[in-house]
Amino acid sequence: MLGFEYLRSLESSVERLQAQAPQMADAARLIVDCAVRGGRFYVHDTENIVSNEVAGRAGGLIMLRELRPWNIIDLKGSENDVVAIFMNGTDPRGERTLIDEVRKRRMKVVGVFPTSSKDHPLHSSEVVIDNGLVEEGGLMDVPGFKEKVGPVDAVLNSVIALSICAEVIDEFLRRGLKPSVYMSLRREGSIEYNKKMLAQYERQGY
């Protein structure tokens, strides 16, 4: 029963994210504006869960790169680069350092975080998306288990990231531009197709 309640709860949370669709479209416009000027699109989350879901994958944008804290050390960055930063809970902890480093490089930020958190450093992002993830950890109390079971953050943040990607693809196509997207390696002809797409990405930058 609890497993099915969990799935139902995820469905409701996904439904609530519909309210954030205009902000996702704003994020996509920013990313595409920057990409056509030669900028890059990065995704960062502390656990590398969301970035691992959207970077280098079937049906995903080739332009998208993971940004881990150590990647930023030698990253020059520019005002044409955009980083989507995903955070949960109300305490940004060590993430302030990464946000400061991103800002020093004049990179643009799409902040995905619980916006009810008042003093959050991501409030100054160019685009703000509310993931509503104020609480960290599981969703459901199960008698006999010390902590709540069934986290939702990985699922909801990934859904937001994939929705932004949908908007980015749509925005490119709307402008008459063709973004490079990976074909699943499990499909016939994918190796040749992806080689062609990688060459297209090298040429266009997106």
Partner: protein, 222 residues
Amino acid sequence: MSSGDAARRYLDGIKKVLGEIRTEESEKIRAASSAIFEALRFGHRAFNVGMNHIPPLANSYGVRGNPGIFLPVEPLLNELSFKRARAGEESSLRGDVILYSDQFSSSPALEELAYQTRQLGASTIYVGTPSGRHSVSSAIPNKTLWELCDLQIDAHTPMGDGLLSFTGLDVPACATSGVTNVALFYALNLEVAERISLAFTKSGPVHRRRKKLARSRQATRS
């Protein structure tokens, strides 16, 4: 100017897929959680072996909200290495349950592991979507994870793991498999956790007191 229609299409689509899983896979989810619970209560183990993008990270042992019902793959690999070194011994996986998950069922590394662990007596469950072999070769000829495992839960992943079609784009885009595999993993965890919790109550002091009371009432009536 876009007002978020593509994002809404993805959100609608992923919600629909989650709903399909909840309704169409309910019997399989119950059967899997029952098998896992029965294995645990008789002193056996459950392992989680997941591939794909987020599942190995989001479903890790020790992640907040993961009740630790499933052991990670490392102790399983350790045991398989140990068994290999001492071939001929009786299987130590008899009674254990292993949950395999991957985007699609043609998964060469996991096919081999599923085959081996089943040979050693483990029950196997697959979470993912059945697929043809296409460009991926298989370690076990003519068998995919779907066929190799005792029980299969379909993650309803669309062809090529792309939920959305766009005019002007040759391939479907925006995956579902990572999201659904994580959702299914925690749905299973919750179903098993609930069975454990109910079993505590039934075997615990409250339940024993109730049974004693019922017996004494019956004795009084007779």
